[in-house]
Amino acid sequence: MDDTGIAGYGGYVPSLRIETREIARIWGEDPDEIENGLGVRQKSVPDLDEDTATMSVEAARRATDGEDSSRIEAIYVGSESHPYAVKPTATIVGAAIGATPGMTAADYEFACKAGTAAIQTGAGLVSSGVADRALAVGADVSQGAPGDALEYSAAAGAAAFLLGDADDAVAKLEGTTSYTSDTPDFWRREGERYPQHGERFTGKPAYFKHTINAGQNLLGELDRAPEDYSYAVFHQPNGKFPVKAAHQLGFTEEQYEAGLLSPEIGNTYSAASLLGLVAVLDEAEPDDRIFVTSFGSGAGSDAFSFRATEKIEETGDSKLRDDLTDVEHLDYAMYARHKDKIQEE
C-alpha cells in the first residue's frame, strides 16, 4: 500500500468541555485523585445538536476542503455511537460533502479502532485501483453511565482522512499491520444505553497487549526503530495508557506529546488516535515519519507508518487547534442536559 497516502485530513472537536474535577465533585470522589489518576483534566462534550454524523461531516469537510468530492468513490465511517442502529452514517457524510452517488459506503464498528479499520479499507481500495479516492472517518459521541469510571473520560470528536495516490499525498502510507484477538474487555449489548467494561482487564491483556504487539510487528516488518520516527501517536483512553505504551515500545515524550490530546479532550473513542494524527500532521515537516497505533476493545490494534511529503507544507492549518483552544466549560447540570442524561417526558 506504499503507493497510497493521505491527500487531505481534518479533525473536529466540539467546543464544550467539562472538567473531570467537576464530575468527581458530583460523585463524591477526590478530584485530585481522579484527575491525576486518569491524566485527564477535561473532556469534550457534544452540543445538543451534535452527534457522530454531524461531527463526521465537519471533519470530512475539513479533510476535503478545496478537493473535488466527486472523485471520492468510497466512504467508511467508524464509530461505536452511530446515530442509527440500522441506516448508515456514511451516506449522510457522502451527501453532505457532495460525494454521492458514485461511491460505495459502509459504517464500521470496532470499539475505538473502527476509524483506523476504515483507513485500511480505504487505502486498500485506492491501492488496488478500485477507488480513485476514499474517505475514512472515525467519530464518536461516547457515553459513560453516570458515576461510572468511563464518565470521566468518554468524550466527543471526529477525524477524517482523504486517501489517494501517493503522488498527491501530504503523507505517504509506508505500511500497516494489525493485531487482533477475541478479548471481551469492553462491550455494549444491543439496546443498552451504556457500555460495560472489565475494569482492570481492559489494561494489560487488552490495551497493552494489542497496542504493543501491533506496534512491534509494524516496526519489525518495516525494519524500523522508534528513533526513526518524529512522532508517535496511540489510542488514548486516558492520559496514562498511551504514555506507558509509548515508553514500552521505546518512544520518548518528544515523540508522543504532539499527538497526545486526551488530557485536554478526554477519550474520543474512534477518533482518539486519529485526532492525535491530525494534530501531528498539523506540525509535521517533509520527510517526518509518523507512527500511529489504534486500539479497539474486543480487541485489536492497527499500526501505521506514515511519511510526510513536500505537500505537507502546502496544506493549511486543519482548524483542530482552534477547536482545542476556543472552548466553553459546562457544570455537571448543563453537561447532564447535553448528554441526554435528564429524561424528558
Binding site: 454524523a53 454531524t54 449522510i92 453532505a96
Partner: protein, 131 residues
C-alpha cells in the same frame, strides 16, 4: 416542527446538507432555496443549480425562548436571518450564544430534529460565528 416524514425531508437533502440553490442567468440572481421558476423573469428565466459557499452575514437575530414542539428541548437558542455572500437570505439557527447584527458566519452541519424518538433524524445547516 411536527413529524414531517422521511420523503419530505429527503426531498430537500441537497439544500439542507449543502446549501444548493439556483441561479437565473437571465437576471444574474442567485436564489436559495432553489426556484423552479425565476421569481423575476418567470418563464423567460434561465435557471440552473448553484452551490453556495455557506458564508454570510447576520442581518437580524433573536433568541427563541418559546419554540415549536420539535425544538422544546433546545431553547433558548439563537435564530437569525443570514445574508449569504451570493445574495440570498436564509433563516437559520446560530450555534453561538452571543451574536450581533453584522457578524460574519459560516454554515455548519447539525442535527435539526427527528421524527420522534424512533423516527428519521433530520440534519441540516446552522451557522457559527467566523471571528
Amino acid at each position: 416542527m411536527t413529524e414531517m416524514g422521511a420523503p419530505r425531508f429527503w426531498r430537500n437533502i441537497q439544500q439542507r446538507y449543502r446549501l444548493t440553490g439556483t441561479r437565473c442567468d437571465t437576471c444574474d440572481t442567485t436564489y436559495f432555496p432553489p426556484r423552479q421558476l425565476c421569481p423575476e423573469c418567470r418563464r423567460e428565466g434561465d435557471v440552473e443549480e448553484q452551490e453556495l459557499n455557506g458564508t454570510g452575514t447576520v442581518v437580524t437575530y433573536t433568541t427563541v425562548h418559546e419554540p415549536s414542539p420539535e425544538y422544546e428541548g433546545d431553547s433558548p437558542y439563537s435564530l437569525a436571518i443570514v445574508e449569504l455572500d451570493e445574495g440570498p437570505r436564509v433563516t437559520a439557527q446560530i450555534v453561538d450564544d452571543e451574536i450581533q447584527v453584522g457578524d460574519e458566519v459560516e454554515a455548519c452541519f447539525r442535527r435539526m430534529g427527528e421524527g420522534g424518538g424512533d423516527g428519521v433524524i433530520y440534519y441540516g445547516f446552522k451557522f457559527r460565528s467566523l471571528d
